[in-house]
């Protein structure tokens, strides 16, 4: 079955989007959880294991699992050479959400990088739109 015939939740593009969004969400939860557990133990902090005391970290893991499963579904139906570049939207989502939600600062050079990724994504998405039209 071609990718364009799969509609609704079964649309592989929607699954790429969910997968990428899930990666970004899991990063945010893990960052919040990691910061919240700094005080627990200085001796064991470097292992990352102390972050498990935070429910936010577990929530982050849940989103990591969701991203993995949706990714597998997506590449079942899409060429890797299109799906993987598209998944790099995460490099836009993470800095943007760190800025909006966590209040982190974005330096001008990083804004340039975000703009470049967006241009690249637009170009990658175009052959896909043409492909879908032909079908």
């Amino acid at each position: 079955m071609s990718a364009s015939q799969l509609t609704g939740l079964r649309n592989p593009w929607l699954q790429v989007a969910i997968s990428t969004l899930s990666v970004a969400i899991s990063e945010l939860f893990q960052k919040r959880g990691a910061v919240a557990t700094i005080h627990i133990s200085e001796a064991w902090g470097w292992t990352g294991l102390t972050t498990l005391a935070s429910p936010l970290v577990w929530l982050g893991m849940l989103f990591t699992i969701v991203s993995f499963i949706t990714w597998l579904y997506a590449i079942k139906h899409l060429p890797l050479s299109v799906a993987f570049p598209a998944s790099q939207a995460v490099h836009v989502l993470v800095p943007l959400s760190s800025w909006l939600i966590l209040g982190e600062r974005i330096v001008p050079l990083r804004w340039c990088g975000i703009a470049l990724v967006l241009c690249g994504l637009a170009l990658v998405a175009r052959p896909v739109a043409e492909l879908e039209e032909k079908l």
Binding site: L80, F84, H91, V117, G120, L123, V124, P127
Partner: protein, 114 residues
Amino acid sequence: MTFLMLLLILISLACIVAGQLLLKRAMESTVDRGFRQRTFGFYISAGTATMAVSYFLNLGLLQQLDLSYLYPFQGLTVIFISAAAAILLREKLTPMLIVGSLLITAGVVLVSVS
């Protein structure tokens, strides 16, 4: 920054690329034959194991190198995966796709170094 570090970075990148190709193969095998078959089991375990190797190599490298130094290399995976998909999986690369992937790579590197 030693030769060994660079080698480990390259191995880690190669594992990501190989892992994605193996996962793709695993999922392709399910199109006709479903999940309860050997090919899927082999490729999905090999893919997951390879991804795990790259994950731990990366953690090990992080102990030695700055994140801002290590992370830009991640951007290169886009180029390597597209090339590998074209050569090994016979996927068709359009000029638009190549330029787009190169822009994404450049962007990811910029986001990571800044």
